[in-house]
């Protein structure tokens, strides 16, 4: 039995909902209509940045605030759509002068600052392919992503350059330019002070009209095995970025919108840069990391109306109790949404009780490029469910058969979540890994790797991952990437990495290692291994705990059985162990 559905409260602020009738929209929606909401460019061409910026410049939106930037200390800085467009144009001109060609890769590794947004949009304007990297990555995840994607330029800050790039970046021949945004005290050799270079350029730039299938974004994600995967997205994706922001987040030009996801990840790009701008909203960008009191103050002082955040953040706010929330005037809020991992029902209820509005959970992946399943405004929320398919998207829960897949009709049965292809923001490939890409599809269905079930009302419920990928604070972590670094320690013979449940982060990374002969499982060694992992991987990817085992369960072919490690750690049924080497510990 599914838990009872709850009706959402009436919208505040007197705005009409963009999706007044979900059932009707499901039957009438077409992607062509969605495309017609954008301007497009002559000859059937399109550019994400044109839709985000240029097309507003002949309208009153030009003078409205695109970004309200909240520095760590001091007053907010308002940047209008026109100013942001000019800044992006200057950046595009810098890329042109440096000789970058359309299709060239530009990576960005920076914390939230205004020129990060100008760099992202300027990169797209010039037809280059933009890749965000999370600034809390250690040098190793950065380096592997640079080696896979072979960018021509990297945008970063002086501090991050010195700490995470300077030691190795010259050995990567593809990278011809390093541009430093934000304050630069002392420009290191072979880098360029971006603000100075931009000041010397014109604020005019004719945004390059791109083929809808031209590459625009390269987002890295993690799989169970092998290296990170670079998911390719094209300029056409903006059709989905725009319409899903409008329908699932109910974005209106009048909105003060705050997406708390860092632009180093896909959510912070699709819904932290592109969608809020194509929808003409004012977006709040906070330089600082999570801080409960600061966040409530931002919601209150900036009069935030639509808030898109993540379960980990919500659970951290819950830990602070309701008093702190009640000290603030949160009456401007009219729609709350959450993504990254399943939102537990308590968090949905907490939103209603403490903030006056329930959270609307939604679901999507790096590969889908945009929201695919959502608890839409105006639709009854089922707490704990990820909601229903976006109009224009067909979902199915499937089981694998000998000759393909078949749809599961029983609402009680769990299977793999699949999406019918195509849709505009569907990934068009994993960079240089055609085989890995092809394996994601059976016929015209994309297989998500997530296990789910679909109840009798069409609501989807997330059950777990079909693979060993770990989800911590909403971010996917590939165990292989972590194990590879652990194996570099001279004492480590075998390493297996799993996710263990955590009440705040969903899961945290735990590593199990066995030692080579001659090494003792001592506390000092444990810390040494942990230190190595943190130094190389950064805190977002490194394990929080390392435990020693005499040997790790592995298959006869020598593959570590992460599933079994996890089952033992959590006291779960161990399942079929017939192919196992070593047996029980």
């Amino acid at each position: 039995m599914a838990p009872p559905a709850h009706r959402t409260t009436a919208p505040r602020g007197g705005l009409l909902r963009n999706l007044p009738d979900y059932e009707a929209a499901r039957t009438t929606f077409t992607w062509n209509q969605a495309r017609a909401e954008l301007a497009g460019m002559p000859g059937g061409r399109i550019n994400i940045a044109y839709e985000a910026l240029d097309r507003h410049l002949d309208s009153p939106t030009a003078h409205r605030t695109a970004i309200r930037y909240l520095p760590r200390e001091g007053d907010p800085v308002d940047i209008s759509y026109r100013k942001l467009a000019e800044r992006a144009n200057r950046f595009a001109n810098v890329l042109a002068e440096l000789g970058l060609q359309p299709g060239d890769g530009v990576y960005c590794l920076a914390h939230r600052m205004p020129d990060l947004y100008a760099a992202a949009l300027g990169t797209l304007k010039h037809g280059c392919v933009f890749t965000p990297l999370f600034s809390a990555f250690g040098p190793e995840p950065i380096r592997s992503r640079v080696e896979i994607g072979q960018p021509v330029a990297i945008v970063t800050t002086e501090r991050l350059y010195r700490r995470k790039l300077a030691q190795w970046i010259r050995g990567t021949p593809s990278v011809r330019h390093v541009l430093l945004i934000g304050p630069v005290e002392d420009t290191p050799p072979d880098t360029l002070n971006a603000a100075q270079a931009m000041a010397a350029q014109s604020p005019e730039y004719a945004t390059r009209p791109m083929d809808p299938e031209d590459r625009a974004l390269l987002h890295f994600t993690s799989g169970t095995t092998g290296k990170p995967k670079g998911a390719i997205h094209v300029h056409e994706a903006v059709v989905a970025h725009h319409i899903t922001g409008k329908l699932a987040l109910d974005l209106h030009p009048e909105d003060i919108y705050w997406c708390t996801a860092d632009p180093g990840w896909v959510t912070g790009t699709s819904y932290g840069i592109i969608s809020p701008l194509t929808n003409g909203t004012t977006m709040v960008v906070d330089e600082e990391e999570f801080d409960a009191e600061r966040w409530y103050r931002i919601l209150q002082d900036q009069r935030v109306t639509v808030w898109y955040t993540a379960p980990t953040a919500i659970r951290m706010l819950m830990k602070h109790g309701p008093e702190l929330a009640r000290k603030h005037d949160l009456s401007s809020l009219r729609f709350l949404s959450s993504v990254g991992e399943p939102l537990n029902p308590e968090a949905v209820h907490w939103g209603r009780d403490t903030l006056g509005l329930p959270f609307h959970d939604n679901w999507w992946q790096t590969e889908t490029g945009g929201i695919m399943i959502a608890n839409f405004p105006g639709m009854p929320i089922k707490p704990g469910s990820m909601g229903r398919a976006v109009p224009g998207i067909e979902t199915a829960v499937i089981r694998h058969t000998d000759d393909g897949i078949e749809r599961i009709e029983d609402p009680a049965e769990t299977g793999e979540l699949a999406l019918k292809t195509p849709w505009p923001s569907m990934f068009r490939g994993y960079l240089n890994e055609e085989e890995r890409y092809r394996k994601c599809f059976v016929g015209n269905w994309y297989l998500t790797g997530d296990l789910a079930r679909c109840d009798e009302d069409g609501y989807l419920w997330f059950i777990g991952r079909a693979d060993d990928v770990i989800k911590s604070s909403g971010h996917l972590i590939g165990p292989f990437e972590v194990e590879s670094v652990l194996m570099e320690h001279p004492a480590v013979a075998e390493a297996g990495v799993i996710g263990i449940p955590d009440e705040v982060a969903g899961e945290t990374v735990k590593a199990f290692v066995s030692l080579k002969p001659g090494f003792e499982p001592e506390d000092v060694l444990m810390k040494e291994i942990l230190a190595l992992a943190r130094k190389r991987l950064g805190p977002a990817v490194a394990p929080r705990q390392v435990a020693f085992r005499d040997r790790l369960p592995s298959t006869r072919s020598g593959k570590i059985m992460r599933r079994l490690l996890r089952a033992r750690e959590l006291g779960l049924p161990e399942g079929d162990t017939s192919t196992l080497e070593g047996g029980k510990e």
Partner: protein, 82 residues
Amino acid sequence: MNRDELRAVILEELSCIAPDIDSDTLDDQARLRDEYDLDSMDALNLLAALHKRVGVNIPEADYARMHSVSQLLDYLEPRVAR
């Protein structure tokens, strides 16, 4: 517990969570998040460990005041039982 002893305890707990930090060269004034890559999960774990070690409960509302080792010392020192 005097300030030096308290500092030693903080560094010890910090080294369990983030052993990549070199406690010999640690700058007490530096923001742990910016200079030593401590994220919010690490910070939560550190404050929980310190609670256990020195018996001072740090309410969530005060977390925002704990950006550096010296701020931690300023907060904990008057609250630790002598």
